[in-house]
Symmetry: C2
Subunit: 453 residues, 2 copies
């Protein structure tokens, strides 16, 4: 098969087909559990991920969104490593350490994913251990208190990373009151205030059969995996005979943003100013997402990009300078980053805004378009060599996009992006409300040039 | 072939043989250029690296090691991206960006490596462009001044990363006056004082045919690559007809260390204290390097390791805690890291030292040994799925180890490591002089418990 296939959720089983890279298949169990695989011929290892369709944006208690729940998704992710009736925390750690596998989890704004990369022979172990963690975590009171300390250390470490801090502040500034604007891990205050009851409530409400997507790529046989996952979930006590539709995908209608702020400066005695300029971006399923990839490649996606050339190569004002465009179901951000010497943040901001402005007013050249086509298709092909990239593609396809797009179709869409498309998107972005976030030995006055407040 | 093969440097060409993973071959040109390849059947991409056997430890001027040269290796690495008579900096960036390849360089204490990962069809381009950069850099005066600014920004960014800072201070503390103790990139003062003449001198002295190792893995044919590299170097003006032996490998006799310091505390108003405890380690070619890998795995190599269990899982004192053992030709370091709340650095230090002491006094269990065997063999197999890991293995084999060790032989050596071997090495490490490095809102007094000064 070649192309994009929408996921019709009413089909109990769908073979999506033979893509260039591997055979992609999906099974939906009657209970709403979704299992997707991509078999890669010749692979000797596999990556498997258990995705739960709940992230930090979903943190609400019975009374609605409340600070006492902020960070509970990430807190829960930590606790799932801490033991079940049949496995202690040490048992779980040993299971993966003793085979040399990678085993970790990531909490995001819209999902939580528990994953492992292992050799083919160890895949059944990974299927079983993660299923046990996911379904049967004890959330022991003592472990809860110990882990509170670990999470506070994790937040402190992030607070000491200027890049992390400026990224969080920019999201808050651009997305304002939208739940996607909140930091994934909560804050030290909300973590100190967190209760086991709130985390337990989140666990019970969000970790149900129809919230779960299991995705695996590499040395994996679809039918075998479906049987293994089913066995593991049933053994862990889940009743898969209950009939339920998979949790519907979130709306992809762009949310109306409110509460954005033009400037968020965090004063810190660092050597550099870490600087981000951002605008509202596009949603994940927006048809212009390929156009956004081209725009980002030309503006700030590599050493030949305009930001790299203008800020670093010609003027030596930064070591790290780039743009990026994270997107979510109903909101997105477009941002430009640079780290520079204190005192130059105004000039660097103006330079970056001027480059975005030039993209909006003059568009891109045919050479730049060609180069972006080559860069994006080449890097996509290289990325697919890793089974983890393929596993993530499956999970994101199911949870967010609602279609699976293979490499050939991706490249076809990419080649269809024109210079006019890019200019039009640049114009739209540049016309949006600008937010500036910065960390360094500076205050608001540093941005009088670009963000008068 | 199965096993380890010493590299007899008097052979003009040596087929090392058919290892489990791929066919490894080496050719030494009469001029001393060494070319190593590992062909991986079925691969559609390749990683190529041009390794120069010079790193920051080799920074000396006509007058011997002098601060005015410190950082010149790294400065030169930056300048090699800035243009040749036939390619501008932008041309070089475009060459790789337009095919979506990864292209970068790393300056280390003992070598400098310029590498690229590209699709098979783009390998000839990578061979030619890196050869041009390496042989024909202009080191333009204007570019030199611009790049000085970029490097100062890079150093400032590293100075804002507590993990980077504590690592540099620990190396200085453990290795003392040894050239390996110096930071790779120099300091802001040495970079401000750097002259084009000093960097040019380094370039001429260290970038000769017999300093060069070209290593490639993946979709690469040995004979074709040898011809391409030869053509590219000759086209760039190198005279490969001159007969020269490859630069001898550095001595692997452990250096006598002097000037170590017990305590290096950098006061900074961070949220966490970043903490490292270190001892002199073993050299890269030490036969006990596999024993060191096992020791490190048991003590601080994963979630089931003793440091992770004692410091994080049982007590919640840290989020990040681990040990590592970087090694070089004639010196090495063994270190334990943790990030913790200010005020707990003394307790965490004592805990970590107690765990090393317990390894020295009581050894490891049979279960721990089994687990380390599984972890290290499993992760080695998974790592070899990437052509970049294989390319690095080739380069390190040639430059540092003097033998190529395939996966089967690695595993054989690993299984031969006994619990007694590990205990004996732990005893030797723990008996060495302790150095403590820390970054945070603290001063020397914080370590009265562990490092009286």
């Amino acid at each position: 098969m070649n192309g994009a296939v929408p996921f019709p959720l009413d089909l109990p089983e769908l073979t999506i087909g033979d893509v260039a890279e591997g055979l992609v298949r999906r099974t939906i169990l009657p209970s709403g559990v979704r299992i997707l695989t991509e078999h890669i011929p010749g692979a000797r290892s596999a990556t498997i991920g258990y995705w739960v369709a709940a992230g930090s944006r979903d943190e609400t208690g019975a009374e609605g969104a409340s600070p006492s729940h902020f960070g509970s998704t990430h807190f829960l992710e930590h606790l799932l490593f801490k033991g079940t009736p049949s496995r202690s925390a040490l048992d779980i750690a040993i299971a993966f350490d003793s085979v040399g596998g990678e085993h970790n989890a990531v909490t995001s704004k819209e999902y939580t994913c528990y994953y492992a990369k292992v050799r083919d022979a160890d895949l059944p172990m990974a299927v079983e251990v993660i299923a046990d963690m996911l379904t049967s975590s004890l959330l022991d009171n003592g472990e809860f208190e110990t882990e509170r300390g670990v999470i506070l250390e994790e937040l402190a470490m992030a607070e000491d990373d200027p890049g992390d801090v400026v990224g969080e502040r920019l999201f808050e500034a651009v997305l304002g009151a939208h739940p996607l604007g909140r930091p994934v891990g909560g804050t030290p205050d909300t973590i100190r205030a967190a209760t086991r009851d709130a985390v337990w409530e989140h666990y019970r409400a969000q970790y149900r059969a129809n919230d779960l997507v299991v995705a695996a790529a590499g040395a994996v046989e679809h039918d075998v995996l479906v049987a293994q996952v089913t066995t593991a979930l049933v053994a862990a006590g889940w009743d898969l005979s209950v009939s339920a539709a998979p949790r519907p995908r979130r709306s992809s209608t762009p949310a109306t943003l409110s509460g954005a702020t033009p400037l968020r400066v965090v004063g810190k005695p660092t050597e550099q100013v870490s600087l981000m300029l951002g605008f509202p971006g596009i949603v994940a399923a927006d048809e212009r997402r390929t156009t956004m990839a081209v725009l980002n490649s030309v503006l700030g996606g590599g050493m030949s990009s305009r930001l790299f050339q203008e800020v670093r190569e010609k003027r030596g004002l930064a070591y790290s300078v780039y743009s990026y465009a994270p997107s979510y179901s109903d909101a997105g951000v477009f941002a430009m980053f640079a780290g520079c010497t204190p005192g130059r943040e105004g000039d660097v901001s103006e330079l970056m805004l001027a480059e975005l402005g030039r993209l909006a007013s003059d568009g891109i050249t045919a050479d730049e378009l060609d180069r972006a086509h080559g860069q994006l298709s080449g890097s996509a092909a290289l990325a697919l060599e890793d089974s983890d990239t393929r596993m993530s593609r499956l999970g994101r396809s199911e949870l967010t996009l609602g279609e699976f797009v293979d490499l050939d179709e991706s490249v076809r869409r990419l080649m269809a992006v024109s210079a006019d498309d890019v200019q039009e998107l640049a114009r739209e972005l540049a016309a949006g409300p600008l937010s500036v976030a910065a960390v360094g030995p500076i205050d608001d006055d540093a941005f009088r040039q670009v963000a008068p407040v």
